[in-house]
Symmetry: C3
């Protein structure tokens, strides 16, 4: 079993139920990971993901080895028939199977680079690990999806929702730098899979890849989108559409989430995956309000990772 | 329970007794830390502190996660109402509670920066972790104190002292760079708490903060201070007094501890917290002599850390 | 017991037998390392060595602490009587015993620097750890030998050999940078100790230190060397002989291992310690062929490390 997208978890409602059960006693499967090693490979920096995944794995009794790969320093050759007399000292066809030798499960973090849309959206690096490592692989945020985050978001929504089928609004917000679409893509994918009402609001030009938008409604008027919302999920992302892939098209601060806009909602909870730039994504007032779920979301990263790792460990057993 | 200063340990004699008991079999509480995670956050480099604290935590059966924070790279916004469109991508009000989510106990290492005396002496960073992390916090050397070092020093003195109330001399020694006052402040605080005779000797201008000097006697004549001493504790520090806070006022090598000065003492033991610059702080002869306790001191860092962590784990139990 | 060279393992045939026994169930000695800590010190970067050694130690139930030492940043003074007022802030006579305080076994990785042949070939750094740490030390590749690699190579040969005494060819291959002789030195030493037929082939000027060549036959004609070989072990190394120590004398691609040359052998297996530069050391065809053992070799690094650590743990018991 690999875990890179919502489909890999099967029935999301069932998965959330499993997660909440696990949360009641996170040490109940402490024997499940005995003598199993998780190798966590970071091509990009990480705070929440590293800490929460490491904690989740140790809750299950696994050994954890963290490998920080400086993208500049560790350049792998990926093509065949190249005479490797330049700066690349290893070929992925050796490096990846070798990493697989020393572990039972591999986690990979590798962001979109915005250098080549095709490379990013084909998940080139993640797929190489799936193909060549010989081990089950899970995503700790890849170029197009961040499934452990979205799973944690869904667990949080389940804990706080006041109606069976809440209205959830994913809103673009301004940011000075070009950020990947992994979080909004993935969030849309998971909320759609859960069957909740999803509205996506963003300035023109910020349309996401339709495969992720799915059945969600797109609304360019942010205030209109917020009306009656139960959850507001704020996030910046760079443009997806050609010819502006990876570009910052707007830093319009009228899109910042503030108290006045939150008043349009159905006393909505505020969500963000963190790190968050205050008074740009969201005002101090909103993020510090009792409606803010940013810390519970982060705390649920441990739970989503542990639920996924537990499933993967079960998968190892059944094939062993 | 937090641990940042001598008062946090209660009766120091009792604490030393506990430590020596633990040292007899450092694996006797291997179950105490089961399913507990210590997060060790380093804003400054560390060799002894990282290794000894990690060892101490694993002796207790804890999981350890080490987080190296490059002070330059991870700049946290600390003020409210700032539009975060610059180089700071996260606010401490999110970052610190999130770190607290994934662990049971937090260790923090954060030195004085000598940029702002008020920030240093109010222990700004350490206090933020205490206030916002939601977890018990212990100091792995902060701006003004290094309590795990001082506790290890006191354990070492207890092991080697030949009289009930030894005379201990803390002596300033020359060093080319500006070093924090954390070690001398803390040493004075702990020796005073233990009720031993303490003499502090340094060139004029190197007066320490009076709250740490306490009842110790200050003697500007180093030779006079050494007379009859049972322990010589050498350390450099930069000036504390305004307007010279954080400055090197002297590199006078006549303050180096050598065999001739040691001859003035009561066959004193030589102590230093390491790393030490030889033939500047102390001569080769003295540090290599049988009277040198620098390695036993370092070894006791594991014991002091373990005693403190054991207390903190007991505290978790009682509030759980 | 230290482990830095073939002699430290005693009878190599017996050691290989032990390793193969361990490989059948690598968790059978999970209690052997209980409450024991391995400190792994890396003066040079590592992928395979770090992962495999860490895995081996955890298989034995040990705690592992990894210490990455930036060779530039952590400059230790090594001489006595020096006034340390420059850029070196610690003396090895303090630093190394302190590291020994916090662990039971020390692993050291420290490559040849090619600055001083005498320093390299006397294993200056490794010997300092052996002399001053107070702990058993094992090499994770030192200046002149890489014994865990050679042991893994020998295990692999044992698993694949088709005759009692195979013919093994160690061949120099081109590379753009100056590489240490540790791998070829060590390989020759272990193959000689195993009593197999060893032929070493390289361009003139690339003669290895005679103490490692031992009873092996040197053949400057690569094709002639390959005739009838059962195993081809490819590796680049820089010149050993004065006055060209550490220099690249040739990058002649006619030495690359290709299909045509492999056809001269007795259907030989291809071996390399990795990382390997394709189409320089070896062609894509050969390294991807069923005769290529590069991944099994890497996988056996876990086994060789675990066999050595098991022996070292047994040694601790017997002296405790």
């Amino acid at each position: 079993m690999n875990f890179t997208k919502v489909k890999d978890i099967g029935d999301v409602r069932q998965a959330v139920k499993e997660a909440l059960e696990l949360k009641k006693n996170r040490f109940q499967y402490h024997e499940a990971g005995k003598n199993k090693t998780a190798l966590l490979i970071f091509f990009n920096n990480s705070l929440r993901t590293r800490l929460s995944t490491q904690k989740a794995a140790t809750n299950l009794g696994m050994n954890v080895i963290v490998l920080d790969v400086n993208q500049g320093a560790w350049r792998l050759e990926t093509e065949r028939e190249v005479v490797m007399d330049g700066d690349k000292s290893e070929h992925l066809l050796e490096a990846i199977p070798v990493m697989g030798c020393y572990c039972d499960i591999i986690g990979v973090r590798s962001f979109a680079r915005f250098e080549n849309k095709e490379d990013d959206y084909s998940e080139k690096i993640l797929q190489q690990f799936i193909r060549y490592s010989g081990r089950p692989v899970f995503s700790m945020e890849a170029a197009t999806r961040h499934p452990l985050q979205s799973f944690a978001d869904l667990i949080t929504i389940e804990e706080y929702k006041r109606t069976e089928r809440p209205k959830i609004v994913l809103t673009w917000t301004p940011h000075p730098r070009a950020l990947p679409q992994a979080v909004p893509n993935s969030f849309a994918e998971w909320i759609n899979a859960a069957g909740y009402e999803l509205v996506i609001t963003h300035p023109e030009g910020y349309e996401l890849d339709p495969q992720f938008v799915g059945t969600a409604r797109v609304e360019h008027n942010q205030r209109k989108a917020f009306e009656g919302a139960d959850f507001i999920y704020a996030k910046n992302w760079a443009a997806y559409k050609d010819p502006h892939y990876g570009e910052v098209l707007s830093t319009d601060r009228s899109w910042t989430v503030d108290t006045e806009k939150m008043a349009l909602t159905n006393q909505a909870f505020f969500m963000h995956c963190l790190p968050v730039r205050r008074n740009l994504i969201v005002t101090d007032e909103v993020i510090e309000s009792p409606q803010s779920l940013v810390i519970p979301q982060a705390a649920n990263r441990e739970i989503s990772a542990q639920t996924v790792l537990k499933r993967m460990l079960d998968g190892l057993q059944s094939t062993a």
